[in-house]
Amino acid sequence: MTDLPDIDLPDPDRLRGRLSRAIAILIGITTLATAYVAFLQHEAAAANTDASLRAQRLGIQAAENRFVSEQRAQVDLHAYATAVEQRQHAANLRQQARALGGAEARGLLVEADTWTRMAERTDEITTVRVDAPDGPDRDPAFPRRFIAASSREAIRLAALQDAVNDESSGWGERSSACTAILAIFAVALYLFGFSLTVERVRVRALYATVGVALFIAGSGWAALGAVDPPRLAPDEAADAYADGRLALDTAWDATGYQEAYDRLSRAIELRPGFARAYVERSDSAFRLGSPQRSGFFSISSPEWLERSTADLVRAHELGSREIKVLADLGFQRFLQGIQARRPELLEQSIAATRQALALTPGDPVVRYNLAVALLAAGRAGEARAAYADAVRATAFLDVDAGVAREDPYGEEAYLAGALTDLGLLESFRPELAEEIAEVRASIVTGVAAGANPPAPASPGASGPSTLVVSGLAADVFPSTVQWRARLDGFDPDRDQLAVQWLVRDPAGLGWAVLPEVSSLSVAPIPNSEAPGAFFHLDSYTTAITPPTCLPMGTYRVELYSGGRLVGQAETASAFGEFDALSVRDVGVVLCRPRGWEPAPGRELGLVAGSRSPDGQEGAYVFHVQQPRLDEDPGGTSLRTIESTMAAHAGLLPGRATWVESSGTDDRYFLGLDGGRWRWYRYDGGLVRIGAGVASHGGVTVALVFGPDAWFDGEEWQRIVESIGPYE
């Protein structure tokens, strides 16, 4: 038998006793810790339940508030509309009294006064105020701001609900963590207890060691949770968010978008985890850097694009998976990818856009975004298929069920966005120009065909198109655009002509299609003075809300027919910054220089004007209701010019008389009959006045006035050229 080596081991009984005592102490400590964590778990669960209930309550309050506030706003709006009607009744009666004269004029004037007093009483029951920031005089898009303001409280409550949801999630996570810690402590206790039943010291030590490790892990986790409990964001964040959201919803220029950006930044500062605020701020940032003012925004400066993308990325990191976040992120990665020539960004774009598409398969915008990203990534075959899907989604509200969209303006807006994106791609990737041109023509043709693709030519048809476009020229005025061209071989029954107008801002950020003056099907007007020549005029100012004048920049017109681009021309605008003056009750819109103010003498339905701050230059528009007379419309126009100058002499800087030597021009005036123009002179200045007769007999008059030197420039001509009908 071999002798075992001598090992000086402690007395087993002593070892077991020491270890057992230590384990017993650990059991006690662990039990105490378990009790404390159980208390924390209960506290967290109670806080979670409380927060959850508060969130539900806020949601109910928001819904109720929105319903009640919107109903009140609508009631106020209808009351105001009634007051407008009543005032217009009064104005109509005054016009009738002027036009008809005689004995009944006095009765008409008395009735007009009655309507005016009714309107004043009606004003007392509405909260709409004409000169308020959201009133008709200061909000060009009235009643958008007024209605939007009614939802501010509901937006604020929804933002509070979002914050409470976050708080509830935090408490829920903490409660789950406490439950898990309790489970860990339970296992540790089990191991401690089990170790006391085991004979072997090594095995006992193993159990005890693992138990201690679990106890330390659980205690550390509990300590971390106790140090930083979930906190509710300050209410001010919801206030700032509501203000920012409203500003964004009602903005139409850089000032509005800047206000939205600033307020949303404040909301984020107060609540850094506010995903929704990042999304809205991203939107305002993109628009701040964009020269576009309508349609789908595609162009933005590099600085604001970067800020916008950073916000979207942050929103995505915070868990936002909304369609807008995914779609916008996808598109902005496309922009960054083509600007920086980074293929991996294009792949990111495609991936994000596909995720958005999965959520909204019928959205043409997302489909076009995917198609252009595929084209940029060099996947031409997939891009063509994607464009075909996008064209179908443009024509059909429900492609599978074959429900046509039947919205030519909406379809043009989608097409405009797609063409703008193709223009951007071409500017950064000129080597793709040929392919892009083919795609461009193909989607214009596809969208123009709409839900009813052209039938194959029948035997009696006039044959394939022989249209040849030559001499195409583009003319741009502050409120309208016009193209002129020879269209040899044009057959209106066979040749569908689509026209796209584009503008490139002075900073050269990109060509943006103007959907307001672009069209999928145009009926050109023959030029009576030149056989074979045609033209087409489109008003931009009356087609956009709020009425806006055309921006400065370079303009391009593209004509498409028979699936191909048949002509294009460019011109640069030279008219400066103009703002729209839209007078619906007079039925006229014009563009006046920025900084001009409302002129005195406003009378509903009859006269409205705008003038420079010093009052030396200005413009007025009139609508005179009068019977349709059995005389030459030109004569009616002239008579009305004379009576208007006589009746409203006080609106001008001086008494004006007709400059007979300059005669009378029979030029175009708003497309009305009997268009006539005259020059008047007052001491130190001139008046250019025009008039025309509507089919129902009413006469519209417009004039511009200013010092002699002002008429040496072009500003007055731009104003006159911009005058248009406003229905």
Partner: protein, 241 residues
């Protein structure tokens, strides 16, 4: 003393080592299963918390969806409230103009009055247009106008990103899947606890079943681990959250 050379001596040194190895092995299994119980318990409470959040989200989305639909219906309702007034003026303008044309030679003064009244009604109709919020009525030369309620509502809904982002049905399905996952994880906790019990009994037992109990417990722990992976990846018991 003389030993029987045909009978080998008993190997008493190997039996205690086998016993020690078995004890250590079972101790390791007990330790691993204990840790797994802690992990699975944590994951199940987390899944439960996610499921609870999804439940709340689904209810809130449903409420907001109804709210948004109500808002859009309200816009159309307000337009329809305004439409008869607009229609009245548009029709009056057309009818008065037609009547004026009819009387122009036979009764010029009346025709003149009707002309002016017609123009007044045209302006009144125009003055109401800014107050339409959903869609502008179309008007034909005879003064007849139309407001297609379904078309306007359909376009408003198609254009509402807020409505498109609200998918309460999907949220409810996700919540159900999350609850199923939480339940599966709780089941795994119980399963691991059973394994722990089996191995623990084996650890303290001195019978011949000790080895079988150890093997059963070990196999159970391995099977439970595989099931845990399947549940977490979504192949079993709900989605992977």
């Amino acid at each position: 003393m003389m030993r029987d050379p045909g009978t080998p001596a008993a190997d008493t040194a190997t039996a205690p080592r086998d016993d020690l190895r078995m004890a250590v092995w079972m101790a390791v299994v007990i330790t691993v299963v204990s840790i797994l119980i802690a992990i699975v318990a944590w994951r199940s409470t987390e899944a439960d918390s996610v499921a609870s959040d999804l439940d709340s989200a689904a209810i809130q989305q449903l409420a907001r969806q109804q709210e948004e639909r109500g808002h859009l219906e309200g816009i159309v309702a307000q337009d329809l409230w305004l439409f008869p007034r607009y229609q009245e003026h548009a029709l009056a303008a057309a009818r008065l103009t037609a009547e004026a044309d009819r009387l122009r030679t036979s009764d010029p003064p009346l025709a003149a009055r009707l002309d002016v009244e017609a123009q007044g009604h045209a302006v009144l109709a125009r003055s109401l247009l800014p107050f339409f919020q959903g869609g502008t009525p179309a008007i034909d030369p005879d003064g007849r106008s139309d407001y297609d309620r379904e078309y306007v509502l359909r376009n408003l809904e198609a254009g509402s990103l807020a409505l498109q982002d609200l998918r309460p049905d999907e949220a409810l399905v996700a919540a159900r899947q999350a609850h199923a996952k939480a339940a599966a994880l709780v089941g795994l906790v119980i399963f691991f606890a059973a394994c722990l019990l089996v191995v623990s009994i084996g650890q303290v037992s001195r019978s011949d079943l000790r080895g079988w109990l150890a093997a059963a417990g070990t196999l159970g722990a391995v099977a439970g681990s595989v099931l845990l992976v399947l549940v977490e990846s979504g192949f079993l018991g709900g989605s992977s959250t």
